[in-house]
């Protein structure tokens, strides 16, 4: 527990943490601005146009940014210490290296869960309040709690993948480059693969797992242009856990060796 306390102090006294949280807050505010735009567009439209107005779930934007922010925070958690040499102080204070990695993972998981849920809930609450009782699809039905809660595990997963890759590469640039590709490029490539591989690969890309965890199939909900979700919530949870373990094991082994 001492190691966790130490890592918690480091996490909240790192500039990057607050810059990242500010970026997430700004995105939440941005979803509010988009909701205002949608609401005014709705109010100015006639009945036939109103029927065609649809909005992608705006809270997903806040989650999308939170995923990247926490992947970067996870990556920096260890790589910044290697860069400054602080890691020697850390390993001198806590000689059991697995305990250091576990403590960092615990802090990132807790902060990621909290931030993921908070970002989703804040964005959904804000946009929902602005759209009000306008009968726009997505906003004309009650919020499913599960849709918001899955933001937590998703953000925590990104943070832990950043941590594990950082432990493996010990390079912030290599780690952030890799998570950026996993977060942005891989999902786009996956969507454009020939069938049936587009659905298969899209079902296991990092940015999609939370919708499957919530039991949502985007192809059913938004139409056929979105890849189908092939995983059940349990399978999605297993894949998320598997990714985290897969990435963190070699990092742990490398930290233990020297």
């Amino acid at each position: 527990m001492n190691a966790v306390h130490a890592e918690w102090i480091k996490f909240r006294t790192t500039r990057a943490t607050w810059i990242g949280l500010a970026a997430i807050a700004a995105t939440v505010a941005g979803t509010g601005a988009l909701a205002l735009y949608v609401a005014s567009m709705y109010d100015g439209a006639d009945a036939t146009r109103r029927a065609t107005i649809a909005v992608a779930p705006l809270e997903e934007m806040a989650l999308f940014v939170a995923q990247l922010v926490f992947a970067v925070l996870g990556a920096l958690s260890l790589t910044a210490e290697y860069r400054s040499g602080l890691v020697r102080t850390t390993f001198t204070a806590v000689p059991r290296r697995w305990a250091v990695l576990a403590a960092k993972a615990a802090v990132l998981t807790a902060a990621g869960l909290l931030t993921g849920v908070a970002a989703m809930a804040a964005a959904r609450g804000l946009t929902g309040a602005i759209i009000g009782d306008r009968p726009i699809p997505e906003y004309d039905e009650p919020v499913r709690l599960a849709d918001l809660l899955v933001g937590g595990p998703s953000v925590a997963m990104f943070a832990l993948i950043g941590l594990g890759l950082g432990a493996l590469t010990r390079s912030a640039v290599a780690t952030i480059g890799t998570v950026f590709a996993l977060w942005y490029i891989v999902p786009i490539v996956a969507m454009n693969l020939p069938a049936p591989w587009d659905d298969r690969i899209s079902s296991i890309v990092l940015t999609r797992l939370h919708t499957e965890l919530a039991g949502v199939d985007p192809a059913v909900k938004y139409g056929d242009h979105m890849p189908s979700a092939l995983l059940s919530p349990w399978a999605a949870a297993a894949v998320m856990t598997g990714y985290v373990l897969l990435v963190n094991l070699p990092g742990y082994l490398r930290a233990r060796r020297d």
Partner: protein, 239 residues
Amino acid sequence: MIETRSLTKRYGRVTAVDELSFTVAPGHVTGFLGPNGAGKSTTMRMILGLDRPDGGEALVDGRRYTAIRRPAHVLGALLDATALQPGRSGRAHLRAVAAANGIGAARVAEVLDRVGLTGAARRPASAYSLGMKQRLGIAQALLGDPGVLMFDEPVNGLDPEGVRWIRGLLRDLAAEGRTVLVSSHLMTEMALTAERLLVIGRGKLIADTTVAALTAGGESLEDAYFRLTETSVEYGGTR
């Protein structure tokens, strides 16, 4: 008490530390002298479990450092004072290190006071001079009130007043019955601070002696040091 037994570290074909055995006893300042690249820092890292020895072992109070549960209470070390996260304040840095060993904020305030950094405690580390970073590192070593202290080149970057201060501090710590090991390549500095001397060159122990014995023949400590290490300097101009 610090003890090494046949401690060995190789980097590829280079043997950085070669069957090094010595004991550092409490009650006086022991200087750890040797030219650059002699293996001083590598030895210290192995004592702290940061580098794994290829042979032999290093013990702190009879135990391997990595087997000690809250090591800050047994050994305090300053290896590299500049190893700080630039945006974090000195106080936050110490609080994190202290928390890892179950030490609270009150003790952090105490050590900050002892090294004279209370006024700068909330400033980010990037605003510290090298001398202030050295003071912060010393405060960090003192956090757990340990019986063994190890400092790697602690006077680097200190102004004359700071050098004088650390000299007094090291002697006080030793007089309190602690084991104090201080590495340096400045023999003149060691002459003023240390009582015992461990001289190493190319990873091997060259001399385990006292300052008094080394200068007994009327030779200056500097001359005695050069005589001892002349065959072990790896990189240097011809003399």
